[in-house]
């Protein structure tokens, strides 16, 4: 857990650098909120032992914050924390028992409940000292949604460094990739899920005639592929299963971006991928030693 938090350090730094005070407030509220919700549920509702030390609530809070716009009011963030930890995790039985990624449950809950607040994106750099009063603008993906020809006007430097509008942790592609390298190097995750998501999005974008570089760096794709979809609890166990899971997420993302009502669909795609993970686990068994053919099921 703490390794993942460490891997998120570059992305968090970019968020603070680009979105300033707003990012700091949302980050603090989200992490504190998630840990408080877990503590309260454990202590007063489930009467279980203290579990904050394993870092899971901290990480959920951090990931939730990085998936939110930096001008979101604190009360909204706290509702997101309750949805993430309370509904997304503790309702299923706590760590290891949840079906859906808790941070994404929180984010999608907020997106559906407060669509206006969740889609007004502060402009980076100029809003370092502004919080809810930040000036906002459209993201590249929403521009593309209304005018597919606008792709050529996108500045790639901004996309790579995070000097663009969006959820505060998803904009700095380079920072996220640094985290990816760290996770691979420390063997926290394997390459299978991120690569199959990114590759399927790239291939489908190419087939449907989109701009690959923009589709890959814009929106939550990288953050989702590296940090959200790879959550151990909600992703498949075998490498074969991971690749199928990645393909499902990649395909759904492109379908939503191209033909769906929303400009961005990574969160939905990952949650749908989480939903089919138990099925994938049932289907993709590891390569067995010494087993040939199908075994007759015991009635």
């Amino acid at each position: 857990m703490w390794n993942v938090a460490l891997a998120l350090l570059p992305a968090t730094a970019v968020a603070l650098w680009q979105f300033g005070i707003g990012a700091a407030i949302v980050l603090t509220a989200s992490i504190a909120g998630c840990m408080a919700v877990e503590y309260i549920i454990n202590r007063f509702m489930l009467r279980r032992r203290f579990t904050l030390a394993n870092g899971s609530a901290f990480l959920t809070g951090l990931l939730l914050a990085l998936n939110l716009p930096s001008n979101l009011p604190v009360w909204t963030v706290l509702i997101g924390c309750i949805a993430a930890i309370g509904i997304g995790k503790m309702a299923f039985g706590g760590l290891g028992c949840n079906i859906f990624n808790p941070a994404l449950v929180g984010r999608v809950f907020l997106l559906l409940s407060f669509p206006m607040l969740m889609t007004s994106w502060p402009l980076p750099a100029e809003n370092i000292w502004n919080y809810t009063d930040a000036t906002t603008g459209a993201t590249i993906l929403s521009i593309l949604k209304s005018d597919p020809a606008a792709a050529s006007s996108v500045g790639m430097t901004a996309e790579l460094t995070g000097a663009t509008g969006g959820s505060m942790g998803e904009t700095g592609a380079v920072a996220i990739l640094l985290g990816f390298i760290w996770l691979l190097w420390r063997r926290v995750i394997s390459w299978h899920i991120p690569v199959s998501i990114i590759a399927s999005v790239a291939i489908l974008t190419a087939i449907t005639g989109g701009n690959i570089a923009v589709e890959l760096t814009a929106g939550g794709l990288l953050l989702g592929a590296v940090f959200m979809a790879t959550d151990y609890v909600t992703s498949p166990m075998t490498h074969k299963g991971m690749i199928i899971y990645g393909l499902i997420i990649g395909i759904i993302t492109v379908v939503i971006r191209r033909w769906g009502a929303y400009p961005e669909g990574v969160s939905f795609a990952i949650l749908l991928g989480n939903g089919v993970t138990p099925l994938i686990n049932l289907w993709c068994k590891p390569r067995r030693y010494g087993e040939t053919g199908k075994r007759r099921a015991v009635a």
């Binding site: 151990y232 590891p286 067995r288 030693y289 010494g290 015991v298």
Partner: protein
Amino acid sequence: MKTFSIGGLHLPENKLTAGQPVERLPLPAEVTLLLSQHIGAPARPIVKKGDTVMRGQLVAEPSGALSSAIHSPVCGTVSRIDTVKTPQGLSAEAIIIKTDESRPDALCSLSPCSDVVEATRAAGIVGMGGAAFPTPVKLTPPADTQPDTLIINAAECEPFLTCDHALMLADPDGVISGIRLIMQATGVNHCVIAIESNKPDAIKLLRRLTASIPGIEVMIMQPRYPQGGEKQLTEAVTGRMIASGKLPAAAGVIVHNVATARAIHRAVTLGEPLIERIVTVTGPALSRPGNYLAAIGTPLRTLIEAAGGLPENTGKVIIGGPMMGRAAATIDSFTVKGMSGILVLPSDLSSRQPEEPCIRCGRCVSACPMGLEPYLLSTYSRMNMTDEAIDALVANCIECGSCSYVCPSWRPLTDFIRIGKQRAISVLKSRKQS
């Protein structure tokens, strides 16, 4: 370098006693021979209290096809036949023989026998890698199988253990002679001696000595746990897998431990039954860890004393290696034919962390050398879901401990799977009967 293809781990080797010569311990004042120190039925005693016995004399005979003879490793007097504790703390019958210091150390040889299988049976030889399966049974593969390869298991993939390594350096000629006898007995004309690359001196020595012998080759294996498992080694060496529930012979191979090969040589050419073996006594806090040649039935305390005595901070004594071995419930017990090591661990290395929830990271699945899903099997076991466990192939588990080793939540996966496996096997047996 070859290795097996499914799962496995690279473990820290901790071979503290690598390269140490074999040291022979003096005969203990008293030996305690457990009647059940092999797989199968316990041996039946043929001596009674007060009998004088010679070194190498038969004291208990096999009580069935799957059983083994037991011989006295000392000249002395049978002081009693009694119930003693096994290292696991269970009660078991044993013959206790008091050593007679005054009598010459002469060996009462086995009657000469040219038939290797018969000689092996008469000498009470069992697999010395740990399982202690009666060797004569393995030397007579079923008639419907045609083994073409003999694999000599010298992988010694367990951390800490070095008894096979020491044996190869001490008596390579005995090993090779034993191999030729096995090849002769089984009619197999191709032998692979599989040694992990962390024993370069043994590889070099055996390569030199077998260079002129057709049919015997030394294969260097990439160190990987559990390479010494029969199924893993077979696949690593030949690329063939042993179908579950089948013998290695069904895949055309016969696998014997290197120490077993040497024991066969001693039995057939010298008429010496299996009365002693090399035991690695090791541990980070021992002052004199080493490879000790000791009589079967030597008290564990004597061996630990020889290695410098039990350190004060000892948390656990493990019989065998750290992965496959079992913690000893008592050290007031005795060595048996299949005991390859005694590992003395300080308490800081042997204490268990409190378990955390399973986060489904899949490391146990990646590590499992049998391609099972340990997280699932251990849950089935905890929930008493035996039918589901059987469907998930719990009976295939080789209890290598890899899953528990890699689990980041310190869950005792192997322990629960072992319970579930025993339950599953008894259910499968009763199903077969009905």
